[in-house]
């Protein structure tokens, strides 16, 4: 039943500094050779995107990272359909440590030492075997993580700048209906005051970077490549076990909801 018996456990590690990241990777390879490290992300935005791409069962997250902090990434992961086990990696003197101690969140200190990492691994293994949910989704821990969220999220989102021919258009985030990205561009669909039709523009900023700048309560990620203004969502429709679509207020467009984000729409 447990994934560790059939396939190796897959893990993601994230740290914005190369030294600690590689040190952790080396220590993990030494202490848990069967562990499959599927991604070593260089910042929070990458960590989130790599998580969506690989769906690892275990994530080691540094706390202070550019883009999204480790705590923000953990909160997002906890809300998905496949919440992973999370172990925070932090340096001595970080204000989060005292909160972690109180909240029984798994964490290891940098520089990582084998004994402490071994304990964390043992705990993670026993939880993976008993298929217990990660400690992160509990309501107490969610609120704990929320308290620890750095002020970066309080930044006022800046307007989106899109080039339309020679004109550069400034789009206020609240006017955006949704973002959809492919490998190279992100398509912005937005309300144009006075116009009958919605406006469209292409920007170069990848979706994963946009979602670090936007308010997560306002813009819901429903797919790895789709970010929707929650006020524009009219309804969600379940097609079958694995697929779901949302329709937008007063528009014909339907957008897919990937399995990971279907828990956003659970009814009350």
């Amino acid at each position: 039943m447990s994934p560790s018996q059939t396939t190796p456990v897959r893990a993601l590690i994230a740290d914005d500094e190369e030294g600690p990241r590689e040190q952790l990777r080396a220590a993990l390879q030494r202490l848990w050779p069967e562990l499959d490290i599927v991604a070593a992300s260089e910042h929070g935005v990458d960590a989130w995107d790599d998580f969506l791409a690989h769906e690892p069962e275990l994530c080691f997250l540094d706390i202070r990272m550019p883009g999204l902090s480790g705590i923000e990434v953990a909160r997002r992961m906890a809300a998905t359909a496949t919440p992973p086990q999370v172990v925070f990696v932090t340096a001595f003197g970080d204000h989060a440590v005292s909160a972690f101690d109180a909240g029984a969140v798994d964490y290891v200190m940098k520089p990582v030492d084998d004994a402490r990492l071994g304990q964390a691994i043992a705990r993670v293994k026993s939880r993976l075997q008993s298929a217990q949910p990660s400690p992160v989704p509990g309501p107490d821990l969610q609120s704990l993580l929320k308290q620890l969220l750095p002020a970066a999220t309080a930044h006022k989102p800046r307007p989106i700048q899109a080039s339309l021919g020679r004109e550069i258009k400034l789009i206020a985030p609240e006017d955006v209906i949704y973002f959809e990205s492919d490998n190279r561009y992100t398509r912005v669909v937005y309300r144009e005051p006075g116009a009958a039709k919605d406006g469209e523009a292409l920007i170069r900023t990848p979706l994963k970077e946009l979602l670090a700048q936007l308010d997560a309560e306002e813009f819901w990620q429903v797919h790895r490549s789709v970010l929707v203004n929650s006020r524009c969502i009219a309804s969600a429709l379940r097609i079958d076990e694995s697929s779901m679509v949302i329709s937008l207020r007063g528009r014909d467009t339907q957008l897919p909801v990937s399995r990971q984000f279907q828990s956003l729409f659970k009814g009350q």
Partner: protein
């Protein structure tokens, strides 16, 4: 008219009408004042000699047969008043002061009453009684006044002592926070994490990082023993700090130092430059996906005014952060705000109103911390 109003505003009626001392202390404050209640033996002996002499003065020139009696009674009251003095010394409160007033004046009333009754059929003794009454009144007056002065002085003294104590505690706290805030354990352990990995893997980046970290510690640890430090000396520590961060962050951090030689000789409270640069790295570079650049520049104006700027090209100030006095901030800003507050406080202690520190957003993006010290007038 205004001066009159001001005069009355400064008036404390409790003191002006001699009603009693003005400061009241909480139980917690009394507990802190407890070690101050000891009265030195010198004061005790001096008080007893005073009482003996005062009693002697009061009986001077009285008929011999009365003298001994009056002396004994006066001495008894003197000792009672001294006892009250001790009580007021220990706790200069309104209650004890009024008790002392009562006890100094009450016997006078009793004696007057008794004299009236006893002397009804001895008119020859009336002048003597008047004489005694007068001396008694003088005694009561002196006793009451001394206790009043004692209570007032002692009350002010204790209040001052508490105030000084609070101030000293505040200074100590500031010093403690400074020394613990400056070498950030977070910085140290993160650097060690990189170092350990590079040592383990025999990466050639280990040796320069260790050298920079050592130089940083050597330059920083003695920094805070001094009142003022030249900009040139502190820039040495800043340079080492930036080298360590650059080794850790790789290509994400770029920096430059531009110090005008005359400006480098100027002095600032130690730690000021380091705090500003650390802030720029933490908020302007480390939060950026693509990294950033930090620039420290210092110049001296023609009029002798010093201008130090720390520039970064990061996301700029959060919109809710007032440039002058950042106070209540969310967690991650709380620490750097504390650093800024300390910095402002130390600049103020060193230069008074001549120094100013202002954070602003740059037109080309990023944040600018500008420190100005105007020359002494």
């Amino acid at each position: 008219m205004n001066r009159l109003r001001n005069f009355f505003r400064q008036l404390d009626w409790r003191v002006a009408l001699m009603l009693g001392p003005r400061h009241r202390f909480s139980p917690e404050q009394w507990r802190r004042l407890a070690p101050l209640v000891e009265i030195s033996p010198n004061v005790k002996v001096a008080a007893v000699i005073n009482a003996l002499l005062l009693s002697l003065m009061l009986v001077w020139g009285l008929p011999d047969e009365l003298m001994l009696w009056v002396y004994a009674v006066t001495l008894l009251f003197s000792l009672a008043v001294l006892g009250l003095g001790v009580a007021v010394w220990r706790r200069p409160t309104m209650k004890r002061l009024y008790l002392a007033y009562g006890i100094s004046i009450f016997p006078l009333g009793v004696i007057t009453g008794m004299a009236k009754v006893l002397l009804r059929d001895r008119p020859d003794l009336v002048p003597l009684a008047h004489e005694l009454l007068l001396r008694g009144a003088a005694f009561a007056f002196i006793a009451a006044m001394s206790i009043w002065v004692l209570a007032m002085w002692r009350n002010e003294f204790l209040a001052d002592w508490l105030h000084d104590e609070d101030e000293r505690a505040q200074k100590l706290e500031l010093a403690r926070r400074l020394s613990s805030a400056q070498i950030q354990p977070h910085f140290l352990f993160n650097s060690l994490a990189s170092l350990q990995h590079w040592v383990n893997t025999q990466d050639e980046r280990a040796a320069p990082l260790l050298a920079s970290l050592t130089a940083y510690l050597r330059a920083t640890l003695p920094l805070f023993d001094r009142q003022l430090l030249s900009i040139g000396e502190e820039a040495e520590a800043v340079g080492r700090y930036l080298e360590v961060m650059q080794a850790r962050l790789g290509g994400r951090l770029r920096f430059s130092l531009a110090l005008d030689p005359l400006a480098a000789q100027q002095s600032l409270p130690p730690g000021v430059l380091l705090t500003l640069v650390e802030n720029a790295v933490e908020h302007g570079v480390q939060t950026q996906l693509s990294g950033g650049e930090v620039r420290l520049q210092a110049s001296l104006g023609a009029d002798g005014s010093l201008c130090v700027q720390v520039l970064d090209d990061g996301p700029g100030l959060p919109p809710d952060m007032p440039p002058e006095a950042p106070q209540a901030q969310p967690l991650s800003h709380a620490q750097s705000s504390l650093g800024l507050q300390n910095t402002r406080l130390r600049l103020q202690q060193a230069f008074g109103a001549r120094a100013s520190l202002c954070l602003s957003n740059r037109a080309e993006g990023g944040c600018q911390a500008e420190l100005l010290v105007r020359p002494q007038a």
